[in-house]
Symmetry: C2
Subunit: 228 residues, 2 copies
């Protein structure tokens, strides 16, 4: 696979962000809108979503980002980003019209105790949020990605998060291709094909490691893959 | 924590490598010996261990690396590196004299099927090889590290694997400090404190992601942490 050589097809998507008022969802929505995609931020309450959209539009100097209740935001979208907490995730996914859409999960099922963060065990260690979404929405194409990009950096001024890589896992080559390209909005580079959807079991809780590093080094750490 | 500013205390360790005839063990043993540590490669059969030691010494232009049966190799060591396959891991650990020693686990419990590599589920998702070693050898100080460095790169000519980071997890600050310093032999930089020992649950199977990337991109990928 030639990561740096592919002809860039500049597809423009209608992207709905579930959890669009949270830092990860709002930050990714901002980056997608900045690069020409039509973004709708979703939230449980339409007016909260609209307030987040106004905030993004102010950053973009008028960007046309809109806000809507989650399911309404999905209705017209080609691509749906799940950027919601893991608590309530399954119920939310079940309530959304996702059939036929590319669904990106950046959900990180984490738990915290006095030892710090760690991965939550899903389906006895043989599952992940992304796999749950695929099971609940079998007619969607679920792809795992954007788990590790720092929300703080997403909302910052720098043009690209060029010290970070977006790892993309999924069972559909077409679905992964869409997300590998969308990663360019964030890092300025294609995302990295990280294998099958079940590797979300590894990617999701890796965020616990980054949070630990952030605490120890007082930084915003990210993942970069060398050799690609 | 000041990763680049600490005064380097040049401790020299007696390091025993369990699984010293495998590519990861032999490669790490080579790097440790190259930087002045006294290395004994261990294997089930002493003569196989000695053959691997001869091979390392040839690379080092005479390095004093020796070979011995696993338990004999451990006897005089300050630091024991577990670089063995996960099958048989627990039995091996139980057979070794590890009390009072710093034990580094780079064991990657992986499984492979037609979908490629994935992490093996240990203790229903609430365990890891490193945690198993700590439970079996409660008087040792177990640290997880060196899971992701490419065996091929370890054995190559380049002075340092400076595009890779060594992630170090453990519950003992002293144990982690030893390993954070030993990482310099491999990458030329201090290792990164990645948090508590239980985060080995996240670090060990991440190797499945790197193997998937290696296959897709025909490369030797590695992990680099940005922002540290």
């Amino acid at each position: 696979m030639a990561r740096h050589e592919e002809t860039t097809v500049e597809n423009t998507y209608r992207i709905a962000v579930m959890g669009g008022t949270g830092p990860q969802g709002k930050g990714l929505g901002y980056r997608f809108a900045k690069h020409g995609h039509a973004v709708v931020l979703g939230s449980r309450a339409a007016e909260k979503a609209q307030a987040a959209a106004d905030e993004v539009n102010a950053r973009l100097d008028g960007g046309g980002v809109t806000g809507a209740a989650n399911a309404d935001a999905c209705a017209e979208a080609d691509v749906v980003l799940l950027a919601v907490p893991y608590d309530g995730h399954d119920e939310l996914v079940a309530s959304l019209p996702l059939a036929g859409k590319t669904v990106i999960s950046c959900v990180n099922p984490l738990a915290f105790d006095k030892q710090g963060p760690h991965g939550r065990v899903i389906d006895g260690g043989e599952g992940s949020a992304a796999e749950s979404a695929q099971r609940i929405a079998p007619d969607a194409t679920v792809v795992g990605a954007f788990h590790h990009v720092s929300a703080k950096n997403l909302w910052a001024e720098e043009e690209f998060l060029d010290h970070e890589d977006v790892l993309v896992c999924g069972d559909s080559a077409e679905g992964k291709a869409v997300v590998v390209e969308l990663a360019r909005c964030v890092t300025g580079r294609a995302g990295i094909d990280a294998g099958r959807l079940r590797l979300a079991r590894q990617l999701e809780p890796l965020t616990a490691v980054l949070i630990s590093i952030n605490k120890a080094y007082k930084t915003q750490s990210g993942i970069r893959i060398s050799g690609v």
